[in-house]
Amino acid sequence: MASTHTVFKDESKLDINYIPQKLPHRETEQRLLLEFFSFILRCPDRMAQRVILAGDVGTGKTALAQRFGATLASEANKRGIKFRYVHVNCREFRGNLSSTLHRAVTVFEPNYPSRGYGAEETLSTLLQVLDREGATMILTLDEFDSLIEKEGSDAVYKLTRLQETRQGQPQRLSFIFIMRDLQAIEKLDESAKSTLQRSIIRLQRYGKAQLVDILNDRVKMAFELGAVAEDVVDLIAELAHAQTGNARFGIEVLWRAGKYADVQEANCVLPECVRMAVANIVPGLRRSELAGLGLHQKLFLLAVARYFKENEEAYVSLSEAELDYAVVCEEFDEKPHGHTQVWNYVQYFTSLGILRSEVATAETRGRSTRLSLPTIPAVELERELTASLQLARRA
């Protein structure tokens, strides 16, 4: 049974979905967003705007957009303006435009059918709903890179040139596109690219002192007074800074360290709790990132994790990993994806640093790709993935 002793005052303030009232060191960017979208408070249906928020993992893109959306919605509400801020993570829908737009429609029509309708039809429904409600919407497409990857230029073109098909009618729909890497835009054709590149807000990585401020804010909200000493915050900030200035990583370490303190029934979070927390966060693949993976990405990774857990080998050939993946798919009643798709998964995990792939030349059988799991303990990875898949199954 869990102990009643705790260093936390309100641990929900460290949850990945919690958006604080104030975002330290993002004030300028928030003001900029308000400037871009201030027309919504003055003449909501006369204009539409598209803004890109770009930055590395943990630079506060999602938090900034959501805080801005909540602030604008509250201000619009005070002025009697019908405005909705809707935030959708494209990766949750495997980059599928129709499913992403469906989520926006369900804000007004919760039981709108989710299958059998294309992106164009869903977009047209969204506009009809907004017209009927006389409302304006900012639709934020988080992890927009995955949508570009899946749908390509056509989808972007449809979204960005929307208003041209509605000449003379109220403008209802604005967009915020959130991306890690602006390189993804380069894959688009010229016309789609040019409509996207007008307003870009780049979020720079946090410095160590900035991370200290962010963590201190969360400590005040989440922990009992005196439960987290200054040097502990400093240590976590240092770690987060080394992780490319990733504030989300720092907050996750802070929460886990608090949990270790509770287990030890300590009155405060000790540096040793931080070290234990860091050792137990799956390196290179934190819970938040794991949650964002598609079902088959998780199944493939689970197969690789199981292989390395059961075999004391440093490498697995891609063909062998694919066989194991088929077994995992059977377990989860899923049809395995083909070789090309699996190859894409390998490329993706390699780019994240989770897997390493290399071409091995065998003397007799030509070239083959072999994979290794360089930094993540297979047992940890298997545990995290199994938990995540079971959670998805129950949902």
């Binding site: 039981n111 709108y112 039809e121 047209s124 429904t125 009809q128 009927r132």
Partner: protein
């Protein structure tokens, strides 16, 4: 249509209960839930719409039904279902 005619149909009562619970649904979804074919379900829905209890919202090919906003009849039916279901 007379009151007894409107409410003498089991599928119509089922439709009203479902829409009371789920707020709005498209025709196919309602048909599936009351285990009836699309055409008959659509007929019942059109009748309830004609009686001023339901309203249809059309989005392209999709027809969503719900209790009619501001309709006294819709309010009365919703009140009856509430009283009945929460007894």
């Amino acid at each position: 249509m007379e009151l007894e005619e409107v409410f003498s149909s089991k599928p119509r009562i089922k439709i009203l209960k479902i829409l009371y619970t789920l707020s709005s649904l498209n025709v196919s979804d309602i048909a599936k839930r009351i285990k009836m074919n699309y055409a008959s379900t659509a007929e019942h829905l059109e009748l309830l719409e004609a009686e001023g209890i339901l309203e249809e919202r059309k989005y392209g090919r999709i027809r969503m039904y719900r209790f009619k906003e501001g309709s006294e009849r819709a309010q009365a039916v919703a009140g009856l279902i509430q009283a009945w279901e929460e007894k």
